[in-house]
Amino acid sequence: MENLILAFKMVFDWDVLLIIGIASVYGIFCGAMPGVSATLAVALMVPVTFYMSPVAAFAAIASTVAMALFAGDIPAALMRIPGVPSSAAYCDEAYAMTLKGEGEKSLAISLVVSVIGGTIGAIALSVSTTVLAEFALEFQYYEYFWLAAMGLTTAAFICSDQPLKGLISVCVGLLLSTVGYDMVSGYPRFTFGITALMEGIHFISALIGVFAVGEVCRQLTHPQNHQVIELKKGSGFFTGTWIIAMKYKWQMMMGTVIGIIIGALPGSGSDIAAWVSYGLSKKFSKEPEKYGTGHPEGIVAASAANNSSLCTTWVPSLTFGIPGDSVTAIVIGVLYLKGLEPGPMIFLQQAPLVYSIFISFLLANWLQLPIGYVAVKLSKQLLRVPVNTLMPLVLVFCMVGSFAINNSLLAIVIILVLGIASFILQENDFPAAPLILGMVMGPIMEENFMQAMIIANGNALAFFGRPIAATLGATCILFWLTPVIKAVLGKARPATGAAASSGGGPGAA
C-alpha cells in the first residue's frame, strides 16, 4: 500500500505532469501524421528520455503511445490513410462515415471508446499482471501460429467483401515479410542481390506506401467529395457518443477483453487485437451487412481493443523482458538504460516505479479526452484544405517519415513501388489492409510454424495437441470453411432468398 501511495507521489509531481502533457501532445501529433507512427514516435523520443528520471521517462512513453494510437484514427477517418497500423483495421469504415458527413462523429466514437478501453486495460494491467503473465506462458508455437492464422483469416475473409482477393492480399503481405534474412538458416531470401534488401522490408514503410502513397494517387486522379456536417456544439460530441457506446457496450467489452488478452502475449500487439475484434464483431453482429458502409459497431469494438491492448503489452515486457509489441521493444531498452532489469524481481525491487507506470497509463487515457477533443476539432479543418494542395504535402511527409525509420533511401523506393501497386490493386477490389497485416504477422507466423514443424517432425496433428491450440485451430478452420460452406449452400438452395448468397458465392469465393 505504501508503494501505491509513493507511486502517486512520484507521478503527481509538477515535472512529471508537465512531461506527460508535452508527451501527449507529441503523441497526438505523431499519430496524426501519416508518415509517422507510434513506434517511430517513441524511437525518436528515446534520446530525450536520457535526461529524464525513470518515472518521467516511462510516463512520457506511456502517454505518447496512448495518444498516438487514438490519433492514428484521425487521418484514417479523414483521408483514408491510417496513422498507425492498428487503425488500418477500421480505416475504410471510418472513411465511409466521413463521406457520409459523419467524420467528426466517427472520431468522437473512437476517442470515447479508446478512453474507456484504455482505462479498463490499464486497470487490468495493474491488478492482473501475474495472471496475464501466467496465461501468456501457456502460449507456445502452436498457439501463436493459430493466433496469427486467425488474425489473418479475419482480415482476409471476414473484413473484406472479396475473400479471394483478400486472401491474395494477405499472401502478398506474407511474402513481403519473408524478404531478407531467414531467421532459421540466415540465408537472404528474395533479395536478388540488392544489399539494402537484406534487412527486409519494414512494415511501416509498407504501411506508408500501400495506404498513404496509394491514397495520394487516388485522391489526385479521382477525388471523392465529402460533406462536412458539424456536430452541434456541446450536445453531440460526448453525450451522443456515450449513447452509441452504450448501445454497443457488449462489442466494446468484447473488444476490450480481446485487446487485454492479445496484448499480453509477447509479440502480438494492438494491430492484431484491432483486426481480430473488428472481424469477430462483424461475425457476431446482428447487422453484418452494414459493415463497410459507415457503421460504428466495428469501430467501437476495434478502438476499444487497440487501446486496451497497448496497456497489457507491458505485461510480457515487465515480467519477462520479452517485447509485447514494437513499442515495448524500445521500452525494454529504456528500462535497461535506467538501470532496471525486467523480470519478476522488478515487482519486488521497484514496486513504486511499476505502479507509477500503471498510474501514468490511467492519467494518459483520461488526458485523451480533452486533448483528443481539441485535436479532433482542429483536424476537421484538414477537410477544408483542398485535396490538390494537401496531397503533395502528404507525399513529402511520407518520404521523410519512411526515410526516418532506418535512414535509408530504399524506404522511398519501397513506398513508391508499393504505392503504385496498391493504387492499381485497390482499383481492382483487392483490399489493402490485409497486406499490411500479412507483413506484420508474417514473421510471427513463419517463426512459430517452422519451429512447430521442426519439433513435431512434420506431424500435423501436433497443431491441435494442446487445448488452447485446438480451440484456436478449430475456430480458424471454421472461418476458412465459411465461404466454401456459403458457396455450397448457396448452390444447393436455388429458390427463396438464396439468390443473393448464390450471386455472392461464385463471385466472392
Binding site: 506474407l174 511474402l175 540465408y187 486522379t221 503533395p392 523506393v413 503504385i420
Partner: protein, 158 residues
C-alpha cells in the same frame, strides 16, 4: 481501370510459379528438415490456387466486361500525367536529396506538384506553401526529432 479477373489471375499464377522456382535455390541447413523456402512455397502455392479461381471467375465474366474496363477518370490523359508526376517526385527525391539537400529538393518537389495540381496561374501561393512547409518539416524532423535529413547545398548557412 478494372482489369478482368482472369488476367489478374494469370499474372498471379505466373509470378507465383516464377518465385517458387526461385525459392528452390534457397539452401537448407544440413540436418534441418525444412529449409528457408518451405514457408514461402506454401504461401506461393496458396496464391497459385487463388489465382486459378480468379481466372475461372474472370473467364465467366469476360463477355460482359472484356479485358479492361476504364472508368471516365481513367480515360483522361491528365490522370496518367499526375501518376507520372508522383513517380517522378519520388525519383527526384531519391536521386536529388543527397547532392541538393533536403530543403531545395523538397521545395522544388512540392512546387512542381502544386503547379501541376493547382494550375500554373497560382505560382506565388504555391511557392509560398512549398517554402513554408519544407522549412516546417525540416525543423520538426531534422532539428527536433534529429532525423539526418541531408543538408546539401544549404550546409553551413544555418
Amino acid at each position: 481501370m478494372r482489369i478482368n479477373d482472369a488476367i489478374l489471375g494469370i499474372i498471379t499464377i505466373v509470378a507465383s510459379i516464377a518465385l517458387m522456382l526461385h525459392a528452390r535455390t534457397f539452401p537448407a541447413l544440413p540436418g534441418v528438415p525444412y529449409g528457408p523456402g518451405f514457408f514461402p512455397n506454401i504461401v506461393l502455392g496458396t496464391m497459385v490456387v487463388a489465382g486459378a479461381i480468379l481466372v475461372v471467375n474472370g473467364a465467366r465474366r469476360w463477355k460482359q466486361t472484356g479485358w479492361l474496363a476504364l472508368a471516365p477518370w481513367a480515360r483522361r490523359p491528365r490522370t496518367y500525367v499526375v501518376l507520372g508526376a508522383v513517380v517522378a517526385a519520388h525519383l527526384f527525391y531519391i536521386f536529388g536529396s543527397e547532392p541538393l539537400g533536403f530543403l531545395p529538393t523538397s521545395i522544388v518537389l512540392i512546387l512542381g506538384l502544386l503547379l501541376l495540381t493547382r494550375g500554373t496561374q497560382r505560382v506565388l501561393s504555391s511557392a509560398a506553401i512549398a517554402v513554408c512547409f519544407s522549412v516546417f518539416v525540416y525543423y520538426v524532423f531534422g532539428t527536433v526529432l534529429r532525423v539526418p535529413l541531408p543538408a546539401g547545398l544549404v550546409q553551413g548557412l544555418f
